[in-house]
């Protein structure tokens, strides 16, 4: 296209949609530079892997069949017969791991930088919702291949909330769609995985990004800016894309060198095989349930763990309102210490759950 034609097209669009305003809006945000700037990449990385999930997920959905008699065969068909099918599936599975990892790094880095303080409380809240949604993606996607491991892991995972009073057993039957893991469960998981969760996630991501665009990027309390801030667009966006390229290289390498495997087809009447464990990001819950005795002070151990997890997530969501000091622009070392303790606990239980 000649320069003249491009300019004419731009003018044509501009008369209808204010492109210049959008550009100005994007470059109005500035990314400060200081010794913690490195951590600003991880939100963008999470977004990138989410986009990969959308693309590969839609591709998988062209062949995947959400019926217990056909699910396993359809995944085998994708892997063995559809050209590049194994790669698409492997990318989807690996990108899920990387997305959770990036999200955790992003979340803990904004926590430690206290970026949740005023005026970004709602960004933090929407971030906690996104965390739960992403864990939901992982849980609901896991059953879809319908192999032995995915079947029993889902069976156990869906029983865990049962001990909660009132809503527990109703909630469990709601996700299972029956009192056993079967056809109804698979369809519900599929609906959650490919319709309900993606739509909700896109909504919250949009909010998260727009809010970020409005309020700009925070500078941690007491950190000096080392260099002048750069405009988000195009300067930082360009760097973001370089990081995405690096992430994509890692993803391709993992997906081709360690392709996602497919076990035996699930048999609900067979004994559970040894070594059933959830994905690494559910190991903290798994390991905690293993440590806490089934009866503690005459109370059901699972009830204690479930209740504690619920309360901790609620507290985690309310951090911006609990940490009064950083809301006033003061340092709050206690919360830094809390964050580090949580990271250590998660890392410890993941390692212990993995190796024992």
């Amino acid at each position: 296209m000649s320069i003249l034609r491009t300019a004419r097209l731009k003018k044509w669009i501009d008369e209808r949609v204010p492109l210049e305003d959008i550009r100005a809006f994007l470059s109005s945000k500035e990314v400060p530079r200081h010794r913690h700037s490195f951590w600003y990449y991880f939100g963008g990385m999470t977004l990138f892997f989410f986009a990969v999930q959308l693309v590969t997920g839609i591709l998988l959905s062209l062949y995947y069949q959400p019926a217990s008699e056909h699910a396993y065969e359809s995944v085998r068909h994708i892997v063995n017969e559809i050209p590049q099918g194994w790669l698409i599936r492997s990318l989807h599975a690996w990108s899920a791991h990387l997305m959770v990892l990036m999200l955790l790094i992003h979340m803990f880095s904004v926590f430690l930088m206290k970026a949740y303080r005023k005026p970004r409380e709602m960004m933090w809240l929407s971030g906690v919702v996104l965390l739960l949604l992403v864990l939901g993606f992982g849980f609901t996607g896991y059953l879809l291949p319908w192999d032995t491991k995915s079947y029993f892991a889902t069976l156990i995972g869906s029983e865990v909330p049962k001990s909660l009073p009132l809503l527990g057993s109703w909630g469990v039957s709601l996700i299972k769609g029956a009192d056993y893991i079967g056809e109804e469960t698979l369809i519900r998981m599929y609906s959650l995985h490919v319709i309900i969760l993606p739509l909700t996630a896109v909504l919250f991501i949009t909010f998260h990004l727009l809010h970020n665009q409005y309020s700009g990027v925070s500078v941690p309390v007491g950190t000096a800016e080392t260099k002048p801030a750069v405009p988000f667009f195009p300067n930082f966006a360009y760097r973001d894309m370089l990081a995405w390229l690096a992430g994509f290289a890692v993803l391709i390498a993992l997906a081709t060198i360690v392709p996602r495997d497919l076990g035996e087809k699930a048999d609900p009447m067979a004994s559970a095989p040894a070594g059933i464990k959830p994905e690494w990001y559910f190991l903290p819950l798994y390991q905690t349930l293993r440590i806490v005795p089934s009866n503690l002070f005459a109370v059901n151990g699972e009830l204690i763990v479930n209740g504690a997890v619920g309360i901790l997530i609620a507290l985690w969501a309310l951090i911006p309102f609990i940490d009064r000091k950083s809301a006033k622009g003061l340092k709050s070392p206690i919360f830094t210490a809390i964050g580090i303790c949580i990271i250590l606990y998660l890392a410890g239980t993941i390692l212990a759950g993995y190796f024992t």
């Binding site: 069976l155 865990v160 609900p268 293993r290 089934s294």
Partner: protein, 117 residues
């Protein structure tokens, strides 16, 4: 309204009260096999004294299907979190909170039927 729609219907139509699981010749003395009772896996135990007994094969912890293990002493083990049950289904170790519920076995000729107690 929406809640009613999404709440699963409790009992599936067509679930039978008593299920033919096989012929007595299919089960050697001193063996344990998993048979199907509607949707549920059930342990059919043929004792060395020639009796038939049945227990739910579903671990009372979080619902995995347990496995018959002969050593060191015959028992049922759950691979998911290591619960163990003795041959009467009583939980003897691990996180399982209750015994495996028993089922009723009836013989009609050589046909074996399993039913809810």
């Amino acid at each position: 309204m929406v809640l009613q729609y999404v709440t699963p219907v409790a009992e599936k139509a067509g679930a039978r009260q008593s299920v033919l699981v096989g012929q007595s010749g299919d089960f050697a003395e001193g063996s344990v096999k998993i048979v199907r009772f509607n949707r549920e896996p059930v342990l059919l135990i043929h004792t060395s004294t020639g009796q038939f007994r049945a227990l739910s094969a579903r671990c009372t912890h979080l619902g995995c299907v347990v496995q018959y293990q002969e050593s060191p002493v015959p028992h049922f083990g759950c691979n998911c979190h290591g619960s163990q049950f003795d041959m009467n289904g009583v939980n003897i170790s691990g996180p399982a909170p209750r015994p495996l519920p028993p089922y009723r076995v009836t013989l009609s000729g050589s046909s074996i039927y399993v039913a809810k107690p």
